[in-house]
Amino acid sequence: MFENRRLLRVLRRTVVQAVPTVLGIVVLNFLLLKLAPGDAADVMAGEFGTATEETMAMLRRQFGLDLPLLQQLLAYLGNLVQFSLGFSPRYGMPVSELIGQRLPSTLMLMGLALAIAVVVGIALGTTMAMTAGRWTDRVLSVVSLLFYSVPGFWIGLMLIVLFSVKLGWLPSGGQETIGAGLTGLDAVADRLKHMILPATSLALFYVAIYGRLTRAAVLEVASQDYVRTAAAKGLAPLTVTLRHVLRNALLPVTTLAGIHFGGILGGAVVVETVYSWPGLGRLAFESVMRRDFNVLLGVLLLSSFLVIIANTLIDLLHAWLDPRIEVR
């Protein structure tokens, strides 16, 4: 009862704080984007190759690019107030629909990647900490350094070459077997199969970070008095680590994972490109290239919501992990 009221209060405060934040993000992004040289008409006409001045004027009028900047901004905000993200002339569809098409699969990919990163990273870091100074620790440290330093597109391509080209186990790209008409569980399995490689490539970098962080945190917690207490009870080392050490060591890792959840949307561009995955990262990237600012603003708006949601969840998770923390 009390817990629920407290949660509601947290949510309300989050929403109240989010509105001005999001508004600021929208206005700032809008103005920044307008600073970029060239507009959607330039790019479209450039791609036609044989456009005339009349076509360009028509395009500008149609996109509202002929209006003064302030009026464009107000028009955009006006749309937002009516819960509309505007229209993308490039894709010939409303922005919300475009984003809606890509959001579920992108969230799933990000979620899977982060889940892999957190689970594997924590396992890796814990193993390193438990064998600190011994050869297992050394080997794993080198491996995680490798994950950290090798560029994502290279890892992606190597995974494709190994698992798709050489072994033929997993698809080389895309998000489903196109035209297979799969339904139900088969469709889910098919999607998962398509997600394994991109999620792994995306995750490896973060695995390295979480691994190092967990190792440090576990080592620090392991020297605490209460860990000695646990050992004095007669608990096995693994139980001590899992029950008494890890939970205390998790706080820094989850904080970082929360921060990454926002950033990973942008970091996914490379992986989405390598795996021909129609995700939000690529949509955002291509919108920049095409000056399709309605789409870009929509994606940015969405990611700021995601960041806020992720942070709230992390706060709640922290409060659950550590009873000393009051929900802020």
Binding site: A36, P37, G38, D39, D42, V43, A45, G46, E47, G49, T50, A51, T52, E53, M56, M58, L59, Q62, F87, P89, Y91, G92, M93, P94, L98, Q101, R102, F153, L157, I160, V161, S164, V165, G168, P171, S172, G173, G174, Q175, I178, G179, T273, V274, Y275, S276, W277, P278, R282, L283, E286, V288, M289, R290, R291
Partner: protein, 381 residues
């Protein structure tokens, strides 16, 4: 029925289905096609029906059972995948996930691997309607470039064969005229590339009153490149220019910024452009050299700000000349004058590389390359 106020010799070609698809009257008549959301784009008369289109991912085309030219089409279904990364496409080809790809679908550096591939073939036929062409345009408003000797020197400083071999891995042809060598009906073989001769280039520059300074450089130029072209070409040109004492600096711009820089701000001295000739010089070449098409803010207009009344006259006349022989003569004259005036240095024409499963037949039956309608495509065992 189309009523023309003037003859339009290229119109017949322009009516090919890839340029001018047939659209349904009941959906387009009286509709402002530009106003969002616009009329549906996928209702036509072709051999396939658009079943599904996931933007950024793929489109699925299913056989049109009512196609007029029975028993075509032969394929039950065509899946078009949008794959932005060349290396990923290469992997997908090798994994057997792709059967056909055009416009050099894999990195040129990988092509050698496909030479003896058991299942895939590399097809480098050129197609008459594509007319790919890369050229350098001079900004003739830049004082130092107003001097023709300087432009001539630059032309002599570039080794086009080396460009073909090193930048394009041999997958291009030297194309020295404003009309691409790929556009065989119109290209004039009398127009040949200026000899690669750095000594001559140096001499011309000295004569042009541009001696080398203390640092060995004569003058600075800003060199841009259309980002759809491999950036190594800009690097090649930059080094060639520096060798004859022209202090060229390159800037990597993405497409929107590039178009704005060249065609609106005109803040460039040389730009490596890809002014494709498409199927006819009037459509594809005229825009770059016609003085009346010097339009600030209009992409792929006359970026050099080149103006020669004789060239204007020839282009305008050729645009309405219906006798192909006379038209060819006009374009020949045009090519020779432009080659003489050097508003541009024409470089190469990249090959239209298609990679195809060896079991596919008729994927590019006509002059449009892969742009044809696939009605004839089929597999053999």
């Amino acid at each position: 029925m189309i009523v023309l106020s003037k003859p339009s010799p290229y119109l017949m070609v322009a009516l090919g289905p890839s340029e001018s698809p047939i659209v349904p009257k009941h959906l387009y008549d009286g509709v402002d096609v530009a106003a969002p959301p616009g009329p549906p784009l996928h209702i036509g008369t072709g051999p396939f029906i658009l079943k599904e289109w996931v933007r950024g991912s793929h489109a699925v085309l299913e056989r049109n059972p009512n196609y007029w030219d029975k028993p075509k089409p032969y394929l039950d279904r065509v899946i078009i995948r949008f794959m932005p990364d060349a290396a990923a496409r290469a992997a997908a080809f090798e994994a057997g996930d792709l059967d056909l790809g055009g416009s050099a679908p894999v990195p040129l550096s990988d092509l050698a691997r496909y030479k003896d591939h058991p299942k895939l073939a590399v097809d480098t036929r050129s197609f008459a309607y594509t007319g790919a062409q890369h050229q350098i345009f001079f900004n003739l408003d830049t004082p130092v470039l107003k001097n023709k000797k300087v432009r001539e020197a630059i032309a002599h400083s570039l080794d086009l064969d080396a460009i073909v071999e090193t930048v394009f891995y041999g997958q291009a042809k030297v194309s020295p005229s404003p009309v691409s060598v790929a556009l065989t009906p119109w290209y004039d073989p009398a127009v040949q590339a200026r000899k690669f001769d750095p000594a001559l280039a140096n001499k011309l520059l000295d004569e042009a009153g541009q001696p080398r300074g203390a640092n060995g450089m004569r003058f600075p130029v800003r060199l841009l490149i259309n980002p759809f072209i491999d950036g190594r070409l800009a690097e090649f040109v930059r080094q060639s220019l520096r060798r004859v004492g022209i202090d060229a600096t390159t800037q990597n711009l993405e497409f929107g910024a590039y178009v704005k820089n060249v065609y609106t701000d005109r803040s460039f001295d040389l730009t490596i452009e890809s002014l494709t000739n498409v199927f006819d010089p009037t459509v594809g070449v005229q825009r770059g050299y016609w003085s009346k098409n010097f339009r600030i803010g209009l992409p792929f207009s006359n970026s050099a700000n080149y103006s020669n009344p004789e060239v204007d006259r020839l282009l305008e006349a050729a645009a309405i000349e219906i006798d192909p022989a006379k038209r060819k003569t006009m374009f020949s004259q045009f090519q020779r004058i432009v080659h003489e005036d050097i508003p541009s240095v024409d470089l190469i024409s990249p090959l239209e590389i298609i990679i195809a499963n060896k079991r596919i037949r008729n994927y590019a039956p006509g002059a449009e390359g892969l742009g044809a309608n696939f009605a004839d495509v089929h597999f053999v065992d």
